[in-house]
Symmetry: C2
Subunit: 254 residues, 2 copies
């Protein structure tokens, strides 16, 4: 079946003369709406730019269009963070989450989402505070465990042997063995659906000296945080350096 | 200087007899509050568990305690996502963000935070819709560019040559060249401070066939999303597989 697209700035005409497809482009090509796997040969015609301001691409694109996966939480990457809280009796708890992220620069705030059924939900409502603890690769098993069981039934710190330290800033414990910790005071709660979102102001960040760079900031290659993939449910490491932010895009500009 | 900690379940006694430190532990050790770099030799004394329920660790920990970095958005990993919107005249815009994350499973929702000063802020307020586009490593330069300039001043799609496609589900465009796309309808807005948080319900997810696994779900090693580090401002790739979520922690349990 032949499909055509329009909307961008230059004419693209394609016709199937033989294998492979031949795509003729008027003006400078902005992009080819073909899938990378499609082998195309093309010729350039440097026609007058004013000739057209839409793409008219006629080619069999049926197999190359994006596939609909439905209404799902398929967003990559998502983090692996451990939320530290105290219950009403002062028992420390740790729970692993992947639903969260920074939500404001000034004041520095982080949003985390928890189900009402969790033990940590009640703890945050009670204490109005939590910590966000970033586990290293080496603690992937512990982080996974913290997400498998409920603090209602188990003393997760006792089971793992990890050490809860009382924050000196907020009414919550942090995991001493994890290299990077955010101490947060609850400032907002939003009921969304299955999950409740808690917005915490980041009162202080604490880090092991061993993960800091020469400027005293965390080096992600030393922190070694864990990446989670929703639905496919895997953990990955952080990989190689790609480039400097607010920098590598300067070459893109005309 | 000697410091002591207490709080956990077993006695730990340490004294500096000579190099290295000698740490004597009564009962089963839950954790050693020492920095991994500290070389210790230790001996076990299987004394009566009832002997103590606190750690009493006397050792020079001054250099091994966590360092306070202040109130900062130092949370790793954070994502690199591109938000797609239309302005009131229908011009498509793309803006890179790192402040966001999934915030609910049912309904599937994503939260993104933008400053009021951005062009996209006005677009989302106007159209009540946005897309979240996940760039691959190969588009790191484009993603960086999308965060460097404002749609007020430049037609970012024209400059990059990337292709805006109108979503068939929401009133927003997506970036055709990026492999994974979330189409979102605005359901909530929260003013926090410098940033405004937008909660969008994920109406559909669209993906290139080429990044799907045998179960039809995105394979993160094919998506190749980008990781951002706040403050140190770097981009990193996703690295090696670490393990299966909701699985590797089972070994931790007693």
């Amino acid at each position: 079946m032949l499909k055509s697209f329009s909307g961008a700035q230059f004419y693209v005409n394609a016709c199937r003369l033989s294998e492979p497809w031949r795509v003729f482009i008027s003006g400078r090509i902005i992009s080819v709406l073909l899938h990378p796997e499609v082998c195309i040969s093309y010729e350039w015609y440097n026609w007058d730019r004013s000739y057209g301001h839409s793409i008219n691409l006629s080619i069999d694109l049926e197999d190359k269009m994006k596939k609909s996966l439905g209404s799902k939480t398929l967003l990559y990457p998502t983090p692996v963070w451990v939320v530290g809280t105290y219950d009403k009796d002062g028992k420390p708890n740790a729970m692993t989450i992947a639903w969260g992220g920074i939500c404001c620069s000034k004041p520095p705030c982080v949003a985390i989402s928890l189900r009402k059924a969790t033990y940590s939900y009640g703890n945050i409502m009670e204490r109005k505070a939590f910590t966000v603890n970033i586990p290293s690769e080496e603690h992937a098993g512990h982080a996974d465990y913290f997400g498998l069981v409920s603090g209602k039934n188990e003393d997760k710190f006792a089971v793992t042997g990890l050490t809860p330290i009382k924050s000196d800033m907020v009414d919550a414990p942090y995991v001493n063995e994890f290299p990077l910790i955010l101490e947060c005071r609850l400032i907002h709660t939003l009921e969304i659906g299955l999950h409740t979102q808690f917005v915490g102001e980041i009162i202080d960040v604490k880090a092991d000296e061993s993960i800091l760079n020469e400027k005293g900031l965390p080096d992600i290659e030393k922190v070694k945080p864990i990446i989670f993939t929703p639905e496919t449910r895997s953990y990955h490491k952080v990989g190689a350096y790609l480039g400097a932010a607010f920098s590598i895009g300067r070459n893109v500009q005309r």
